[in-house]
Amino acid sequence: MSDRPLANSQLGSLEYDPAPESAAIAKLKPSYGLFIDGQFSEAESDAQFATVNPANEEALSMVAQASALDVDRAVVSARRAYDKVWSKTTGAQRSKYLFRIARLIQERSRELAVVETLDNGKPIRESRDVDIPLAAAHFFYYAGWADKLDHAGFGVNPKPLGVAGQIIPWNFPLLMAAWKLAPALAAGNTCVLKPAETTPLSALVLAEILEQAELPPGVVNIVTGDGSTGAALVEHPDVDKIAFTGSTEVGRMIQQRTAASHKHLTLELGGKGANIVFDDAPIDEMIEGIIDGIFFNQGHVCCAGSRLLVQESVADEVLRRLVRRVEQLRVGDPLDKNTDVGAINSAAQLLRIRELTDFGESEGATRYTSSCELPQKGYWFAPTVFADVSQSHRIAREEIFGPVLSVLTFRTPEEAVAKANNTNYGLACGVWSEKGSRTLWVAERLRAGVIWANTYNRFDPTSPFGGMRESGFGREGGRHGLEAYLNV
């Protein structure tokens, strides 16, 4: 590694001063209730749990633990709002509510960004520049569909499904809430949203926003809690639709439990995305793209480019450059504006990442881990790259959902496609090449719902997102995203 000394001696000696965002901007309350029928209320059992800042393990707020009784209250409220109000509103009225919500998210974006970073552990740069603006944009986009459903390609006057139960993950809490609520409301459904156990706060701020937008009570209900809350929602007989984003394991269980019911189902599950690098790819952009593909949001991304497939002729150079770049990633305080990689969201997730990376070593892969200093408190994992990975290794097959990249090699485009498709998942892939015709040739053969060419982890409300095979079914975003909430 002839180019390492330069990085260490000159560039490596430059230090950034801390530039932390103030946690006070979040204006967090000591406790939050359930948002049902337009009001915050305690759980019937008065049960609460603490939501924790994963960067320092300190409790942020107490949150209500909803039981099956509370879920029932929420569904009853959603049903009433559907029957009495929402199903009678015009598309133009729904449109204007959604535009209001989009604007309010824009107005409160800084507060929401800090809330998200505190509760999730992701760098403020990402919550500020990605999560929150995209959430607002998603509402803005679907606001425009609410009065145009006749033009969406599902026939004239398509009808909503009714009451939608929506269960979202902890990796992009507000953005996932937006992905679920915006199309559902645009199409005319009412919702019961269940945020992830470890990241409920931004959804509760969203509840305040819904109040400010004067959305009619019961149109959106938000129930916080653990897995049992989600299970109660899935099992509730008066729910017409379940939309779930999370692990394939839980998704499979939900599909089994709803199989014999009238419930419509869409699932956005795990992935093991292949990022395919051909020897003609522009190297600087490609290295940044690989880094972004796996270390964005600490690798807590279902579509993360967690398998790097490099053409053999450039593999050595790519690996050398990658390892050097990983060493430069700034890991630490998520509220610091210069932080690249934040905290792992929970102790449980940290344990899983450690377990799988231990397998990586014991199965014979070569490990490169950043020498960055990790904070004493909180849940942290240093960015890691495994080389010499083979397709049978667990780190090449299982979703790690952390800042860990597995590097494999290939010789021909056919081999790249075969290896990329050698997974049960099918969510996303990347292709890096200057040759457009080859990129399209590869893209046609990849079994993945999203394929990025010379970029990675791009999201836009107009672009459909979702998986094939065990990555789930149904699309979120774009015109296609309406289908999940229309009875068509």
Partner: protein, 285 residues
């Protein structure tokens, strides 16, 4: 004894390239309310003003189209916000110009604002409705996208001073065209007010230009202008429209003429000034 306060009256000017000039000719014409009372001396746009407006629209077009569809949606939605907050002023002028009562004019304003919201939502959806991929029989990735025609000249309807103006102007803007609009000749003030609102709605200069003045004379200038790509003839009688449409043929203009049966949810206006651009790209190793 205190005297009754004298109100300060407004000069109604043109909107060209983000500025509000009087006509370069220095002329104005008298506009009266539907009941015949003096309303304003409105700038009487000249041929030169119209040519300046076309130049401004041409200069702004590429930038407007290259801004993201999301951004164009935000700008148009912002106009709806501005109009809502100044709705009473708009309603007053609609009532004066159209001779309707306050309730009707408020309804007209509401419908016009909702129309703005409708168009704000179209900017980032029109490509998904009008565009698509084409499964050609060969190793090619082939897709079609709608692109704007360019500069559109709009002769606005004479009767519907606000709602008609909004519909005629926002449809071409929302798909990425820039516009030179001839406001209703006898009822121009609601359009002039809305033009003023665009200056607080993040509309880039030159994207929307509004000229007031004699429709017949100015329409023929628009129709024969070589640098105008599209022509909306909503505001001319069908006999005049035939002649103007023929004038437009000199530079192969796209011509829109309203259809009797057109409904509010029709996409005819949106499709009127859109070109289909199709790309073939090879697929292969």
């Amino acid at each position: 004894m205190s005297e009754a306060r004298l109100d300060v009256r407004k000069t109604y000017k043109l909107l060209i390239n983000g500025a509000f000039p009087r006509s370069e000719s220095g002329r104005s014409y008298e506009v009266t309310s539907a009941k015949g009372a003096f309303l304003a001396n409105v700038a009487q746009g000249s041929r030169k003003d119209l040519r300046d407006a076309v130049t401004a629209a041409r200069g702004a077009q590429v930038k407007w189209w290259n801004s993201t569809a999301y951004n164009r949606g935000q700008v148009i939605y912002r106009l709806a916000e501005m109009a809502e907050s100044r709705r009473d002023e708009l309603a007053e002028h609609v009532a004066l110009c159209e001779g309707v009562n306050a309730r009707t004019s408020q309804k007209t304003v509401s419908a016009s604002i909702d129309r703005m919201v409708w168009y704000a939502g179209w900017t980032d959806k029109i490509a998904q409705v009008l565009g698509g991929t084409n499964p050609v029989a060969g190793p090619f990735f082939n897709f079609s996208i709608p692109v704007p025609s360019g500069v559109v000249g709009v002769v606005c309807v004479q009767e519907s001073s606000l709602e008609g103006f909004v519909d005629a102007v926002l449809a071409p803007l929302c798909v990425g065209n820039t516009v030179v609009a001839l406001a209703s000749e006898r009822r121009p003030t609601p359009a002039v007010l809305l033009g003023e609102m665009t200056s607080s709605s993040d509309f880039p200069a030159g994207v929307l230009n509004i000229v007031t003045g004699p429709s017949d004379e100015l329409a023929s200038v628009l129709a024969s202008h070589e640098d105008v790509d599209g022509l909306d003839l909503s505001g001319v009688t069908s006999v005049d429209a035939d002649g103007l449409a023929a004038l437009g043929a000199s530079s192969i203009k796209r011509v829109y003429r309203p259809h009797e049966m057109e409904s509010d949810s029709s996409l005819r206006r949106l499709r009127a000034f859109v070109e289909t651009s199709t790309v073939w790209h090879t697929i292969g190793q």
